[in-house]
Structures are given as structure tokens and as C-alpha cells.
């Protein structure tokens, strides 16, 4: 028998290469453009897919092993939390409204990310990005499901989240996050990667996912906190993928730079508008605040994002120009949003309330330039009215921005006393916008944005009533019909926190769990 020659030991990088890239081949029985039909039309030029640097090197066996370990721990904690009525340990029942916002606004997006990364992974001819995208697709279904499983127990005891899938597709303000992700997944695969992989996962994740998880940690919600912490290492992988995608595309061809710059500008603004919901959550909905929206924006975008864009400057990428306007809005965003939801509390699936004295003082200290001057007087007036039995619920419908779909509530940059309106005439119709940036996004792709399913327009067109509704009958109440279409139970899911079943039950149950009655 021959002496066995000692085999050359492969390095980590080489070993990973034979485990992924080595599997691929150049087809000859079908044309490349038929197998990969979606990669040319966006105008991005890729000359060499092999230049892709794998952002992490995880083979499937290692993936299963690590992820299963995390799943075991996570579900053990969820079970313990449920068994111990962990929901009664949150700071106060107002906190649960954050959970409602999260499951109806954010969790369904994790699911879209799952399908979107499957699509992007299938679309790219390079094996490196394909493997990374598919692994993220698998992670994203994890996030969607662990969120549903963690929050399932809250749904058993609190209102507003009982039909969150149905509501996500229908309720007026949920079209803001929904249209954001619909916009991304209907874009080409490269734009999808820039919008979700880079702008959302890399630039904005600290302003979206993290505030919810930190908020949960600060408010005694171990269930939500645990899935957040469990997702952290997945998110770290997603962030490195997001950054690698950008660098790869930019390095491939100088002609890619202006296309990518336009996408970064667009998606930073689109993402920021979705963060309006997070801003008000941070400043108003968490009984125990982690930090103000303004502080979060300064730390996570202005400082960290600033460093990132400095780093990208060598490719010719500059800070998105919308950052200037966002800086002007940071003293106002959360207050304008909360005022709106306070108004429309009859039509949303969570409760609103007026901040108490301590909270007003906190807001004054965090927003010395704007709060006492502009927003406190408004709140004091509403609070007085509520005390007199005139709690105001707005029953008329607001005009929506054609792009971000938020009601036109924002003020002119630099003048917080004047509502900002922009409009465009396109093919005989007039379209309305909340800002120059939303207007520009529309003007660049009008054929896409004219399709938007705007909740208010749809209500006025009669498309948001239960089947068989006759709006012409005497005494027809359109709001009641719309709430039925939303499957939103009037008096339980909506209205002011003060008169809510959630508040009453929480007090009763906490008493039952802590006192001998």
C-alpha cells in the first residue's frame, strides 16, 4: 500500500469557498439572461461576482447548531414569562400599546423581508451574495415567528392586537410601514438590497428595532426583550451584509455610484418617515423612557451615520441631503405625531393619552426649544377639555402624502407654525406631498407611486366597508363601517387609555397577583 500523502489543510477562507462558490457553474443549456432575468434592468453593472467578499463564513451545519441553541433559550424564557404572568410586571398598562404598535406595524415587515431576501437571493447570479441573502431570508422568518410567539401571550390578555395580520393590510396608519416594504420588494433586487439591506438594516436599525427592545428592557417586558436580544447576533450578520452589498456595488463600476446615491437618499427619507411611529413611541408611549427621539437621532444617525458616510466618501457617496431637514424636524416630529394619534384615537388599534405632569417636565427638558412653547399649551388645553368630558376624537379624514402616506401633519422646515404642503400635477391628477423629499421621490417614479393604496382615498371611494354595506341608507355611519372593515372593536381596541378595558383589567389582575383579596 502506498504511503498516504498528508493532505493540504484548507484555510477558513478556502474551505468556505469550496463550500459555496465551488458549487456554482456557468450554465450552457439555458441562457444566463433567462435564468437570471431581473439583474439588468436597474442599470447596475457587475463585472465580476467573484469580487464579492463574504461578510461572514457560516456553513449550514454551524448555522443550525448556533441557531438551535438560541431558540432553545428563547422559548424557555417565553414559556417561563407566560407561566408567571410576566405581563403583570411591566411598568404600567400603557406600555402594552408599544407591543400593539410593534406586532401590527413591524412584525409583518419581518415576514416581507423573509420573502424579499428569498427573491433577491434567487435573482443574483453570484453564489456569495445568494448564500448570504438566503441565510437572511431564513433569519427573517425566525424574527417574524419569534415575535408572534412572544406577543401571543399579550394578545390573550389585552386588546388591539387580536387581528394584526388583517389590520396590517387595512388600517390607515399601518399603510405607512406596509407601503415602505411594498416599495422595497417591488423594486429591483439591487435596490431592494440597498433599501432593506443597507438603509434599513444598517443605517436605521438602531433607530427602529433597538428602541423597541430597549424600551421593553426598561419597562419590565422580558418576553419582548428576549426575542430582541436573541435576534441581536442575526442582526449583526445582516448589518455586515448590508455594508458589503454597498461596497461591492460601488466598487464594480463608477456608473453605479449615482444610482446608489439616489437610492440611499430615497430610502433614508422613506425610512425616516416610518420612524415617525418610533419617535412618538419613545417620547410618549414608554412609561419608563430610554432616551428621547432627538437624542437617539443625534447618537445613531448624526454621529454613527456621519462616520459611516465619511467612510463611504471614498466611493463618491455623500450624506443624504434629507439629513438637513431631519435635523430641523427633530424638535417636532414626535409631538406632531402623538398629537395626531391623540386626535385619531377612535380609528387606531391602540390607546392614546395625555402625558402627566412628570412626563411633561421630561419633555420640556428634552425639547427645550419647542415643547413649552408649542406643544405643552396644546396638551394642557386637551387635558382640560377631557376633564370636562370633552375628550376630542377627530372624525374627519386627513389628507395623506402620496409617497409616505402619513397625514399632512408636518410643518415647514424652520417654521413650526405652518403646515408643509407640496403638490404635483401628473396626467391630469393632482398629487399631494408632506415634503420636498417625498415629492422628489414621486417625481422620479410617478408610475410607481400613483398606484399607492391610500387609505383615505379608499375610504372615500367606498372600498373600506364590509362587503354588502349600503352607504346610502339613512343615518349611515362611515367611521363605524370602516372600523368593522378593520375588525377593530369600538370601545375596546380604540379610544383613550383612561377609559380602556386594558387599564381596568391590568389594575384588577395586578391586585389579584399581589394582594390577598
Amino acid at each position: 500500500m502506498d504511503m498516504q500523502v498528508a493532505k493540504k489543510k484548507l484555510g477558513l477562507k478556502e474551505r468556505y469557498a469550496v463550500m459555496t462558490r465551488g458549487l456554482d457553474w456557468t450554465p450552457s443549456y439555458q441562457k444566463m439572461e433567462d435564468i437570471y432575468p431581473y439583474i439588468a434592468y436597474e442599470g447596475i453593472k457587475i463585472h465580476d461576482w467573484d469580487k464579492w467578499e463574504d461578510p461572514f463564513r457560516l456553513t449550514m451545519d454551524a448555522y443550525w447548531k448556533y441557531q438551535a441553541e438560541k431558540e432553545r433559550k428563547l422559548y424557555a424564557i417565553i414559556d417561563a414569562f407566560n407561566q408567571n404572568n410576566g405581563h403583570l410586571n411591566v411598568t404600567d398598562a400603557r406600555y402594552v400599546n408599544t407591543v400593539k404598535l410593534f406586532i401590527s406595524g413591524i412584525s409583518p415587515l419581518e415576514y416581507v423581508a423573509h420573502r424579499g431576501f428569498a427573491h433577491a437571493g434567487r435573482a443574483f447570479p453570484g453564489p456569495g451574495p445568494r448564500v448570504a441573502c438566503l441565510m437572511q431570508s431564513l433569519d427573517e422568518i425566525r424574527h417574524a415567528q419569534t415575535q408572534v410567539h412572544s406577543i401571543s401571550n399579550y394578545n390573550k390578555y389585552y386588546n388591539g392586537m387580536h387581528d394584526f395580520h388583517h389590520m396590517h393590510d387595512r388600517v390607515w396608519f399601518l399603510s405607512v410601514p406596509k407601503s415602505f416594504f411594498d416599495d422595497a420588494i417591488t423594486a429591483g433586487p439591487f435596490e431592494f438590497m440597498v433599501s432593506i439591506g443597507f438603509s434599513f438594516e444598517y443605517v436605521l436599525t438602531n433607530l427602529l428595532f433597538v428602541p423597541f427592545v430597549s424600551g421593553a428592557a426598561y419597562n419590565g417586558d422580558m418576553g419582548t426583550m428576549t426575542f430582541g436580544f436573541s435576534a441581536q447576533s442575526d442582526e449583526a450578520r445582516h448589518m455586515t451584509l448590508g455594508l458589503e452589498v454597498i461596497k461591492f456595488i460601488l466598487e464594480q463600476d463608477p456608473a453605479n455610484v449615482p444610482i446608489v446615491q439616489r437610492w440611499i437618499d430615497k430610502w433614508t427619507w422613506r425610512g425616516y418617515r416610518v420612524l415617525t411611529l418610533v419617535a412618538m413611541m419613545m417620547d410618549y408611549m414608554l412609561p419608563k423612557r430610554t432616551m428621547s427621539w432627538k437624542e437617539a437621532w443625534e447618537v445613531y444617525f448624526e454621529e454613527n451615520g456621519g462616520a459611516l458616510f465619511k467612510d463611504l466618501a471614498r466611493y463618491g457617496i455623500t450624506m443624504p441631503k434629507c439629513a438637513e431637514q431631519i435635523a430641523l424636524e427633530k424638535d417636532h416630529l414626535s409631538h406632531q405625531a402623538w398629537s395626531t394619534f391623540y386626535n385619531y384615537a377612535a380609528a387606531a388599534n391602540f390607546h392614546t393619552w395625555m402625558p402627566d405632569e412628570d412626563e411633561m417636565a421630561w419633555l420640556s427638558s428634552k425639547y427645550p426649544e419647542s415643547f413649552d412653547k408649542l406643544y405643552r399649551p396644546r396638551y394642557e388645553f386637551w387635558r382640560e377639555q377631557a376633564a370636562k368630558g370633552n375628550r376630542f376624537y377627530n372624525k374627519t379624514l386627513p389628507m395623506l402624502c402620496q409617497t409616505c402616506q402619513i397625514p399632512m401633519i408636518f410643518t415647514e422646515p424652520g417654521d413650526a407654525t405652518k403646515i408643509c404642503y407640496r403638490e404635483v400635477d401628473y396626467k391630469g391628477d393632482k398629487y399631494h406631498f408632506c415634503s420636498d423629499h417625498c415629492k422628489e421621490i414621486f417625481e422620479h417614479e410617478p408610475e410607481k407611486y400613483v398606484q399607492a393604496w391610500l387609505p383615505v382615498h379608499q375610504i372615500y371611494q367606498g372600498n373600506c366597508f364590509p362587503e354588502g354595506t349600503d352607504p346610502t341608507v339613512e343615518g349611515f355611519d362611515p367611521l363605524a363601517a370602516v372600523l368593522k372593515y378593520y375588525n377593530l372593536e369600538h370601545g375596546r381596541d380604540n379610544l383613550d387609555f383612561d377609559i380602556s378595558e386594558d387599564k381596568k383589567n391590568f389594575a384588577e389582575w395586578r391586585g389579584q397577583a399581589t394582594k390577598n383579596i
Binding site: 441557531q67 434567487r122 419569534t146 388583517h166 411594498d182
Partner: protein, 331 residues
């Protein structure tokens, strides 16, 4: 004697989410599979058409010829949501790791008769590329099919096939070296024995109908390939020639096929039982892709079976037909 641990009991307002309650009744709690699967995919009021496929909605049941009154009729008998899936695979991964260690530490690769080693390298290594093709096809079905009941198992299947391609790579590195992988790829690209199968795989890449792609990949191709290669050639034929260590290295694939075919059979059954029209389409796809698959695998079988190939492939096809008959499709 039973101990009585007391906890504070609060009566819940509801057992589960409304969408689940509408399907299973409001009086019972839902399983994690149900809460993680049913109605997870958005169904209404999409904002924009895909720029990459303007003829369809983002999720669109009309991408396939199969018609279902309710796409959540598709249920995974394994009840795989992400957590259950990864736990199952982590366990199999542990076994695979122990098997690789066993073969490596005892130097069992060196005890293989040269003819067996050569056959294994020639037969198994090009299958890395077939598994990679399946990874891509299953990603495609996951992306473009309708309803999470149907789409969800395909992301698991996609990643399983990537895992299988990686296990095959490790077999190659253990019994051969990087050059063996290169040689297998050359055979995959050029040798006559592999061209029928490569053409099958590349043709499957351009199938647009997600359910047809499920049939071509997971039912017809894998339904013949796994029984032929792993259950027959490796576990029977080569084992009897001193190749048992190889069977240890491919145990993952054998176990995996036994498990996943339960889901595949259930899926075929549900689609075909829905309507005579569906059954007609499924029958047509199944017989067409089965015939192509059998023809493509025949020259591959010859690498290990020589003259017996026609007979063995014929048997595998018979078993496949019996399996489909049980799932309600007579071929």
C-alpha cells in the same frame, strides 16, 4: 401521589389571534406552528406592482396553474416553524458530526477498497452541483409561491440542500482533495454521463410556475435520486463491497429524505385532491418530469451499477409510482 404547585390564574380574554380562531375555532389555544404559519403572508391592498413582474401582485396565486380555494390547506406534517426546524436539523447535524469524527479518527477512509472510493468520488461529488441547483430552485418557490403554508417549507428545503451540498463537499475532501472536487465539476460540465442531469437542472431554473418547480425538483428529481443514490447504491450496493463508512457519511441525506418526503407527499396529495383540474395538471407534470428525471439518472446510475442500471432505475421508478399512487396521483 401528585404534587400541587399553585400559580395565580387569570382568565385570558382570548385563546389566540382572530385569524387562527376563524380557522380552528375560538375555544382552543393554537400551536406555535399555526401561529407562525397561518395568514403570515399579506393578502390584500398591495401598494405597487413588482417592477420585475408587473403582470402580477407581490404575492399572486395566479403565478401557478394549480388553483386552491384556500392555500392554507397546505400543512406541513412535520409542523416546522423556524424553531422546530432548526432544532430538528441541529440534532441531525450532531449525528453527522459524530459520524464524520468516527470515520476520520479511525482512519476508515483509508480502509475503503479503491474501487469503492473511486465510485464514490465519481458518483457523489458532481451531486454537489445538483444540490446547489435545488437550493436555487427552492429559493425560487419560496419567493414566488402563494401562502406561507406552501412557501415556508421551501426556505427550509433550500437551506437543507445547501447543507447537503456542503456535506458532499466534506465527503470529497475526506476521501479525496480539492482536485477531486475540480475533477467532479469538470465531469459535471463535460462528461456524457452527467449531461442529461445537468440539462434537467438548468431547464428547471427557467420554470416560472412555482408548483411545477416544486414537482420537477422536490417530487420528481429528488424522489428518484435519493432512493437510487443514497438508499440503493450507497446503503446496499457499496456497503456490501466494504463501503459502510460512506453510508455513515451520508446518513444525513438518507434521514433527511425519509423526513422530507412526508411533507412532499402531503403537498402532492392536497394539491391533487383539491379538484379534477388540479389532479390533471399534477399528473401531467409528475409523469413528464418523472420520465425526464429517470432518463437523466440512468447514465449516472451506470457509474456504480453498470449493467444492472436499467433494472435498478426501473425498480426505483416503480416505487415512486406506488408512492404517488398513495398520494392520490396514479401515474
Amino acid at each position: 401521589m401528585q404534587i400541587d404547585l399553585r400559580t395565580v390564574t387569570i382568565k385570558p380574554l382570548r385563546q389566540t389571534f382572530d385569524n387562527i380562531a376563524r380557522r380552528i375555532g375560538a375555544d382552543k389555544p393554537a400551536s406555535r406552528y399555526q401561529e407562525g404559519t397561518l395568514d403570515m403572508q399579506q393578502t390584500a391592498n398591495f401598494h405597487y406592482r413588482p417592477t420585475w413582474d408587473p403582470a402580477h401582485d407581490i404575492y399572486d396565486a395566479s403565478r401557478t396553474a394549480i388553483k386552491m380555494a384556500d392555500w392554507y390547506a397546505f400543512k406541513d406534517p412535520r409542523q416546522f416553524y423556524y424553531g422546530a426546524y432548526t432544532l430538528a436539523r441541529a440534532k441531525q447535524q450532531d449525528t453527522a458530526e459524530a459520524n464524520f469524527d468516527f470515520v476520520e479518527n479511525r482512519g476508515l477512509a483509508a480502509t475503503l477498497p479503491e474501487s469503492v472510493r473511486k465510485t464514490v468520488l465519481e458518483l457523489l461529488l458532481p451531486l454537489r452541483h445538483v444540490a446547489w441547483g435545488s437550493n436555487m430552485n427552492n429559493a425560487s418557490v419560496c419567493a414566488y409561491s402563494y401562502g406561507t403554508g406552501f412557501s415556508q417549507p421551501h426556505i427550509y428545503q433550500a437551506m437543507d440542500q445547501l447543507g447537503i451540498a456542503q456535506y458532499l463537499t466534506r465527503v470529497g475532501l475526506l476521501l479525496g482533495d480539492v482536485e477531486s472536487l475540480d475533477e467532479a465539476k469538470r465531469a459535471w460540465m463535460d462528461d456524457d454521463a452527467w449531461q442529461g442531469l445537468r440539462r434537467y437542472v438548468e431547464d428547471s431554473f427557467v420554470i416560472k410556475d412555482p408548483v411545477e418547480l416544486f414537482v420537477a425538483q422536490n417530487v420528481a428529481l429528488d424522489g428518484l435520486l435519493y432512493p437510487l443514490v443514497y438508499e440503493t447504491i450507497i446503503d446496499d450496493v457499496l456497503s456490501s463491497q466494504g463501503g459502510t463508512p460512506v453510508a455513515m457519511l451520508t446518513q444525513f441525506m438518507t434521514d433527511w429524505f425519509t423526513e422530507t418526503r412526508k411533507w412532499v407527499d402531503a403537498t402532492v396529495k392536497i394539491a391533487a385532491a383539491e379538484s379534477p383540474e388540479n389532479k390533471e395538471v399534477m399528473t401531467r407534470w409528475l409523469s413528464q418530469w418523472r420520465d425526464r428525471s429517470a432518463a437523466a439518472l440512468l447514465p449516472v446510475a451506470r457509474i456504480a451499477l453498470g449493467d444492472r442500471s436499467d433494472e435498478v432505475v426501473g425498480e426505483v421508478v416503480q416505487q415512486f409510482n406506488a408512492r404517488m399512487a398513495k398520494a392520490g396521483v396514479a401515474l
